[in-house]
């Protein structure tokens, strides 16, 4: 009955349209996916919590609705906990969202499946394709086609206490691995008498930091082998990266657990207690720390993760998200328009001002006014992504062999050779073949 009514309404709308007197406010059934017809219906947008500030999305949705009077934006913020299941079922459900945000390491898992995401290869230009952030763009592509539009990224840097560096007599910020180790020594000489002091807070499983060291030594976690990937954790380059990680842990005498990552316990909170001189983290960890001690904001600055060669910073892992349109979206045309507006310079600069590296704009001036942000922005040029294997999600969904490798090696449970060989085999089992 309802369907029948809709059919009549649709036919009526169609007649009106052909008669040339259709208003801009078409009915929902008249939604058209062709380029030039006026857009209508609803566009449902799912962004993740914390991705874009509310001021940005409010303005964006308002501008979009003003520009397309027939379209209503249904904007919803999603939680990270269980998002995989939520997206999966939403895409399979009858009323999928029209624009979704997918974590960059998850994108390949969705893109590699036929008929799940809309192929956006032809629309790259309208999304400012020339300025896409490379590390993110790679993660949104699968077999030469584009499914994900870069949204934003962030990368790690060394967050440090200016006042402590000054008191320890460190005049020049560390620009190489050796200088970094040297700075740790100076900090320990100055503050080491305090039993709670840590020159560098370094949990055993900060594997994103390890990625930097491995890349810096010319290695990688896996390399493409035709359509497949092969783990390369047992190469001398990867081992050199691990050795440097251990050197940092050993020299700094960090009290961080060797069998947990930077979230257990939350490292920003530890930094907030004021007894930590450095941590490897993201700029937005500072506000968390400042909740404990507001004065930290003024005392904190950052430098890029140093490389092995003086003056060359280490490559960094780009964490972030892509935007995609589900293949069975009922309103692809409006969804594309929405992404187009979000990819425009205006909103991208607002993203930068909010403290992240924008995905579709090379204009990073918005980050300059923030000392932590500007360091991150500069380092992002040397940003890299994890292998774009559709199976990579399985590595990060839990029991990451790279993390187990770090713990086994740092606690001395396994030798370097043993730890890397085991992890290599485990990783091959997950992403190889």
């Amino acid at each position: 009955m309802k369907r029948w009514l809709k059919l009549v309404a649709g036919a009526a709308a169609l007649t009106l349209a052909t008669a040339g007197c259709a208003g801009s406010s078409g009915s929902e059934t008249a939604a058209s996916s062709s380029g030039n017809a006026p857009l209508s219906g609803t566009v449902t947008v799912w962004l993740m919590t914390g991705s874009a500030p509310a001021t940005l999305t409010d303005a964006l949705n308002k501008e979009f609705e003003a520009a397309h009077p027939g379209v209503k934006v249904k904007y919803e913020v999603q939680q990270w906990d269980g998002i995989q299941q939520k997206l999966t079922t939403a895409l399979a459900g009858g009323t999928p969202p029209d624009v979704i945000e997918i974590g960059n390491t998850q994108t390949a898992a969705f893109a590699s499946q036929d008929g799940v995401l809309t192929d956006l290869s032809a629309d790259k230009d309208s999304f400012n394709g020339a300025q896409w952030l490379k590390g993110l763009a790679d993660s949104g592509a699968y077999e030469g086609k584009t499914y994900g539009v870069p949204f934003y990224a962030a990368n790690r840097e060394v967050i440090y206490r200016k006042d402590m560096f000054e008191q320890a007599g460190i005049a020049k910020l560390p620009a190489s691995n050796d200088e970094w180790i040297d700075a740790i020594g100076k900090l320990k000489a100055k503050f080491g008498s305090d039993p709670d002091f840590q020159a560098l807070y370094m949990p055993g499983q900060n594997w994103y930091a390890l990625l930097s060291f491995i890349w810096d030594n010319g290695g990688d976690i896996a390399k493409a082998d035709g359509k497949n990937y092969k783990a390369t954790l047992d190469t001398p380059e990867a081992k050199a990266g691990l050795e440097f990680y251990k050197k940092l842990v050993d020299t700094s005498g960090t009290k961080a657990p060797k069998d947990a990552d930077e979230a257990k316990p939350q490292q920003a909170t530890v930094y907030g207690a004021g007894k930590v001189a450095m941590m490897i983290g993201l700029p937005w960890e500072l506000p968390t720390a400042a909740k404990t001690d507001a004065s930290l904001t003024g005392k904190t600055a950052a430098f890029a993760i140093p490389g092995k060669t003086a003056g060359q910073t280490a490559p960094v892992f780009l964490g972030g998200s892509n935007l995609a349109i589900p293949a069975n979206s009922k309103n692809v045309a409006a969804a594309k328009e929405y992404i187009k507006l979000l990819s425009s310079a205006k909103y991208q600069s607002q993203l930068a001002a909010a403290g992240v590296v924008p995905g579709t704009s090379t204009d990073l001036t918005g980050l300059d006014k923030d000392p932590l942000g500007s360091v991150m922005a500069k380092a992002s040029a040397n940003g890299k992504a994890v292998p774009a294997s559709p199976k990579w999600g399985d590595v990060e969904s839990g029991q990451n062999p790279v993390k187990d490798m770090l713990t086994a090696y740092l606690t001395g449970k396994k030798t370097l050779d043993q730890a890397t060989a085991d992890a290599n085999a485990a990783l091959n089992k997950l992403i190889g073949g």
Partner: protein, 328 residues
């Protein structure tokens, strides 16, 4: 709890039964209404179980022979793969280690839960009303605290650097515990997780058994008291027969829940370190749900079901075989 001398079957394996039920009312009149009555009463429960549990379960079995990743789910295509999901799971040498670990873990926490619950239930009967209410409120709080909070709180308590446990041990003179990691091996990680699960499971068992105990007419205890029975004898003669059916039942239920326990294990160390606290439920999530491989998830779930059916089979069998249809 040892069985009485003339019973050859383990006491815990007998189905819930009351000796008095032999005199159950037999309706010979056979009126149509009387014959239909039991089915009418069962109908709501039966319908709900069939539609919302049994049918999905059959579907899980069917899905286990399919490839059902997100692509197939969205397109609605059915791709049969035969036994591939099973051979993949079973060919992993780890699978049997994990199955064994899951069984040991389940047995240990079920035993601890039932023993703890029984002790507490008996204790509660003897307590003054005020103290009893205090104990009950703490139990409900333990029970009602959301898992996201309990897992976090347990991690804080056991934190190697800032945890109150290590700090307390340090104060008591065991200085080696500052910086001691309780999560360095699978066994110690599972012990902490077990403690957490037992802590949250004991309230239910305690309340169930306590409800059984207070159902015992007070005269029976008084009679035992007059006969000069010791506390243990009273328990054996009066309490235990009354709560045995419920104890058996909560044991059975605890086996099901603890075998399938996931949230706590996952939240503490995601089955680590090095897979050392991985149980079958973690495998189900990791290999099936997390990566959207629902065919594999179906196969693992089916295997788990088989293992569970094997452990609880004796109980189910006894129930079916009992003369007069289990109305012993």
């Amino acid at each position: 709890m040892t069985a009485t001398a003339n019973v050859t079957m383990p006491a815990g394996a007998t189905p819930p039964a009351s000796p008095r039920d032999t005199r159950v009312k037999r309706r010979k009149r056979g009126r149509f209404g009387d014959r239909v009555l039991p089915y009418l009463l069962l109908l709501p429960a039966l319908a709900a179980i069939l539609v919302l549990l049994a049918w999905p379960l059959v579907q899980v079995l069917a899905i286990s022979f399919r490839k059902l990743d997100i692509g197939q789910l969205v397109s609605g295509k059915t791709v049969w793969v035969g036994f591939a999901n099973y051979t993949n799971t079973l060919s992993d040498p780890e699978f049997w280690t994990i199955t064994f670990r899951t069984l040991v873990f389940t047995a240990a926490i079920v035993a601890a839960t039932i023993a703890g619950g029984l002790l507490l239930a008996v204790l509660m009967r003897h307590l003054d009303p005020v103290v009893r209410i205090i104990v009950q409120v703490t139990l409900v709080l333990a029970w009602a605290t959301p898992v996201i909070a309990t897992t976090t709180v347990f991690q804080w308590i056991f934190d190697e650097q800032y945890g109150i446990l290590n700090k307390t041990l340090d104060r008591l003179g065991f200085h080696g515990f500052i910086g001691f990691s309780w999560f360095s091996s699978g066994a110690s990680t599972l012990t902490v997780i077990g403690l957490l699960i037992v802590w949250q499971a004991v309230p239910f068992v305690t309340f169930s058994l306590y409800a059984g105990i207070i159902g015992v007419p007070r005269e029976q205890y008084e009679a035992a008291g007059i006969d000069g029975a010791s506390a243990w004898q009273t328990f054996r003669a009066v309490t235990w027969p009354a709560i045995r059916p419920i104890t058996t039942m909560v044991t059975f239920l605890s086996v099901l829940w603890d075998f399938n326990a996931f949230a706590q294990i996952w939240a503490i160390r995601e089955g680590g370190p090095d897979g050392g606290s991985t149980t079958l439920a973690v495998v189900l999530y990791l290999k099936g749900i997390a990566g959207n491989h629902f065919g594999a998830a179906g196969a693992i779930a089916t295997l788990m079901l088989i293992v569970l059916a094997l452990i609880t089979g004796r109980y189910i069998q006894l129930l079916v075989r009992t003369p007069e249809g289990g109305l012993k």
